[in-house]
Amino acid sequence: MADEEAGKEGEKKIVHVYPLVKHTDMNEEMRIEAIELSITACEKYSSNYEHAAKIIKENMDKKFGIYWHVVVGEGFGFEVSYETENILYLFFAGNLAIVLWKCS
């Protein structure tokens, strides 16, 4: 079983690199923008999550007002309070989680 699964996983992981929105309450426009931004940043700085997060944050600040917070990483836990309609919890590239929220 384990072997099978492992095999499947190896095979399917390659398939699932598309951005998967796990949780969000953003409006359509903001969501699309944020996803786009996250993807671009994470693809560009795939080796440096810190940098990617910084880029995302700065851009979000510019576009949707300041006090954005961004976490990019492969494993972490979080419990945040945010301004309603300003959170995006996104999986990307199969092993990456990106959390964006706004809280002033």
Binding site: E9, K12, K13, V15, H16, L20, K22, H23, D25, G73, E74, G75, F76, G77, F78, E79, V80, S81, Y82, E83, T84, I87, Y89, F91, G94, N95, L96, A97, V99, W101, C103
Partner: protein, 740 residues
């Protein structure tokens, strides 16, 4: 004050300074000082310049007298300037002896000065209350109470006098030194005794005071004494107002990011999306199909319009290409015919073929009864072993020899067809598999209007000929078909299906044969052709594969009205004469063409064409002309009026070995025929003038029309034949058989 020690060259001043400069000697100033000085001098070694004069004691003791004068010795006395006016050097005016060392402007203004007086007047005039200078107030007070506030008054007075002194200083500076000294002395006195000064001022006051009192002792303005005229406005009271907005709503969210969480989410999402995807695809497909259908419907309509345009264009092009043929077809008359008696020829015109039917046989040809230029050609196969799995009915027009106007495709060979005389768009076809189908040429030629279905509602074998019948009493359209299964069916076009009834089953006479197990089987003869009586529409003739021709009626199904033992082999075609419905012609595979009269068991004429005769037809324009086609590829045209024994034209249309002619049809209006062959080609041939000789009316009967004349012509001919004894007819026939 203005003298300087260095500058003064006065003789009266002794050089005390010089003595003080001397190093050692000279008991200079006070004793205490000298001691200190000596002590100081001793402590240091004085440097002596090299060029210092070394004077003796006597020299040192010599007195040199210097006199100081008030004249400036530095003035150049003989200074000249060039005067342009006079054109010569004139002595410049001497500058005075005065040397100004310092000039200092004061800020006080004397009350009695011109300026002061003017200001007071002005302030009176404008009535503007200038702030009162302090000193005047003090002075007034002093006058009131001398004792009480002396000190203050003194102070103020001092200030005032000081100011006055300064003013005076300024003024005096330009005056002589002595004067200045005098006034200073005065001032000093004034300073010394304040009360005295005040008293003296008081003495001066009366007139001045009157003015001051009247003007309320205004402050005088000069360049240093400003008067502030600021105004203080009310300060508005301050108030604090604040509001607090409702903070934007906040929510809490938390999660743990772990690789397996991400993986699981992806798997879940993927599965869902696949489900959705299939659904969506289905939907999309459905939509697409619908769209496609809609589109195709629109496109078809559009295409039909286009098609019509293209058809017109195609016809125009063909007309240009086959211009000469088009002319021949109408107007060319073979001039050679004038010089040959009883012979004619055929001029080939167009060849009609269709790419898809190149290897098929022409199984039937038929002109449309309404449109003279339109003819239907059936494509199938006469060879039992080489049946194709497709068949065509093509409708060509002579206006467009390159492509059929209508194409109907079937899934087996089309053996025969008929076009309804009153509804020229209704075409019925008989198929090799025994089915029949009705097509509406006005609509889509892809799907039949009616088609026979099922095992019982069809012929068991190939349908050989099919004919539209006269409409039924209640207006139903119907047709008849004959097949090699030995039956003649009547098909009625119902609302949505074909209704079939058996008209007659072609049992053979003496056809009872012993079947298996002692049963009796009646043999049937397969029908191969049929034709309706042109006048009596109940009567029809059926040719069979055994060579018999049965005369039947649709009214009776059991009995033949007449049986002709016509041919030794299969009868291929029968045709009624257009002018005399008692006369018909038949042809068969036994090379024979026979002309029959109704109810006469023996033929009137027998012609041997030397090969199986595929088709024979009476000409529509003459009662004595008929044409036949043979498998040899020849067309035979007979005119019984011209030659009772021989064809007046025998012409090979297709090569003998490779090709065979199968069917033939006369055009109803124009003098040309179309013949079909086994290679799917239909050839049109123009009949030369000799083949369509009209009857010349006798001189006494010019009023008779052609129809009557034709009938008369045939009657005359028949009477000749009829009168002959039975035996004798056969003899000339035998003599006239054409040897191939």
């Amino acid at each position: 004050m203005a003298t300087k020690p260095g500058k003064g060259d006065g003789k009266q001043v002794k050089g005390k300074l010089r003595t003080s400069k001397n190093k050692t000697d000279g008991p200079g100033g006070g004793g205490g000082d000298a001691d200190d000085f000596d002590a100081w001098m001793k402590s240091r070694q004085l440097l002596k310049p090299d060029d210092q004069l070394d004077l003796t004691e006597a020299e040192l003791g010599e007195e040199i007298t210097k006199v100081l004068t008030p004249t400036n010795t530095n003035i150049v006395r003989n200074l000249v300037v060039y005067s342009f006016k006079e054109g010569e050097f004139v002595p410049a005016p001497l500058p005075g002896n005065t040397v100004t060392l310092i000039a200092f402007a004061g800020n006080s203004l004397h009350v009695d000065s011109d300026e002061g007086r003017r200001q007071i007047e002005e302030s009176d005039e404008i009535g503007y209350p200038l702030p009162m200078p302090n000193y005047t107030v003090v002075e007034q007070r002093e006058t009131d109470n001398v004792d009480g506030e002396e000190g203050e008054g003194e102070e103020d007075d001092d200030g005032a006098t000081a100011k006055d002194a300064a003013v005076e200083d300024e003024d005096v500076e330009e005056e002589d030194d002595e004067e200045a000294k005098g006034t200073e002395g005065d001032e000093g006195e004034g300073e010394g005794e304040g009360e005295g000064a005040a008293a003296r001022q008081e003495d001066d006051e009366p007139a001045h005071q009157a003015a001051a009192v009247s003007s309320k002792k205004r402050k005088l303005i000069n360049q240093f004494n400003y008067c502030e005229r600021g105004a203080l406005t009310y300060t508005n009271p301050k108030r604090n107002v604040d509001t607090q907005t409702i903070p934007p709503p906040r929510s809490q969210f938390g999660a743990n990011v772990l690789q397996w969480v991400i993986y699981d989410s992806y798997m879940e999402n993927f599965a869902e999306s696949q489900k959705d995807g299939t659904k969506k695809e289905e939907r999309k497909r459905g939509k697409r199909e619908k769209k496609f259908r809609d589109k195709s419907a629109i496109a078809e309509q559009l295409n039909k319009k286009y098609l019509k345009c293209w058809q017109i264009l195609e016809r125009m092009i063909n007309q240009n290409i086959y211009d000469d043929i088009a002319h021949d077809y109408r107007y060319w008359e073979d001039p050679a015919d004038e010089f040959r008696e009883g012979e004619g020829n055929l001029l080939p015109l167009w060849k009609f073929q269709y790419d898809k039917t190149k290897k098929m046989n022409v199984t039937d040809i038929l002109f449309n009864p309404s449109y003279y230029d339109l003819f239907a050609v059936c494509f199938g196969s006469h060879d039992f072993m080489k049946q194709t799995n497709e068949g065509y009915l093509c409708l060509f027009t002579v206006k467009n020899p390159s492509f059929p106007d209508y194409i109907i495709q079937t899934d087996c060979g089309v053996m025969c067809c008929d076009i309804h005389p009153t509804y020229p768009f209704l075409a019925v076809i008989g198929l090799y598999d025994g089915n029949v189908a009705v097509y509406n040429l006005r609509e889509d030629c892809k799907e039949p209007l009616y088609v026979s279905r099922g095992v019982n509602c069809k012929h068991g074998e190939c349908v050989w000929q099919i004919k539209w019948g006269l409409d039924m009493a209640d207006g139903e359209v119907n047709f008849f078909s004959v097949s090699s299964d030995g039956r003649v069916f009547n098909w009625i076009l119902m609302q949505n299906k074909l209704w079939v009834t058996t008209i007659i089953t072609l049992y053979r006479e003496n056809g009872l044969v012993d079947g298996p197990d002692g049963t009796k089987v009646t043999l049937k003869s397969g029908g191969s052709c049929m034709v309706f009586h042109p006048v009596d529409n109940k009567i029809f003739l059926v040719g069979t594969e055994c060579g018999y021709i049965y005369k039947c009626s649709t009214a009776f199904s059991s009995k033949y009205l007449m049986t002709y033992y016509a041919h030794n082999m299969s009868v291929y075609r029968i045709d009624f004469n257009r002018f005399n419905s008692n006369i018909f012609v038949s042809c068969g595979a036994d090379w024979m063409v026979k002309v029959w009269e109704d109810m006469r068991p023996d033929p009137l004429f027998i012609f041997d064409l030397g090969a199986a005769v595929g088709d024979v037809k009476w000409a529509p324009y003459s009662s004595t002309v008929f044409a036949a086609v043979t498998t040899e590829g020849k067309v035979h045209v007979f005119d019984l009026n011209v030659n009772k024994y021989k064809a007046i034209c025998i012409q090979a249309v297709v090569p003998k070995r490779k090709n065979k002619l199968t069917r033939l049809s006369f055009n109803e209006k124009l003098a040309f025929i179309v013949v079909g062959d086994e290679k799917g080609v239909t050839t049109s041939l123009k009949l030369s003038p000799n083949l369509r000789m009209m009857v010349k009316p006798p001189k006494k009967q010019l009023y008779l029309d052609q129809n009557t004349l034709q009938i008369g012509k045939l009657e005359k001919l028949l009477s000749l034949v009829r009168e002959l004894p039975e035996g004798s007819t056969a003899v000339p026939d035998a003599a006239t058989t054409v040897r191939s």
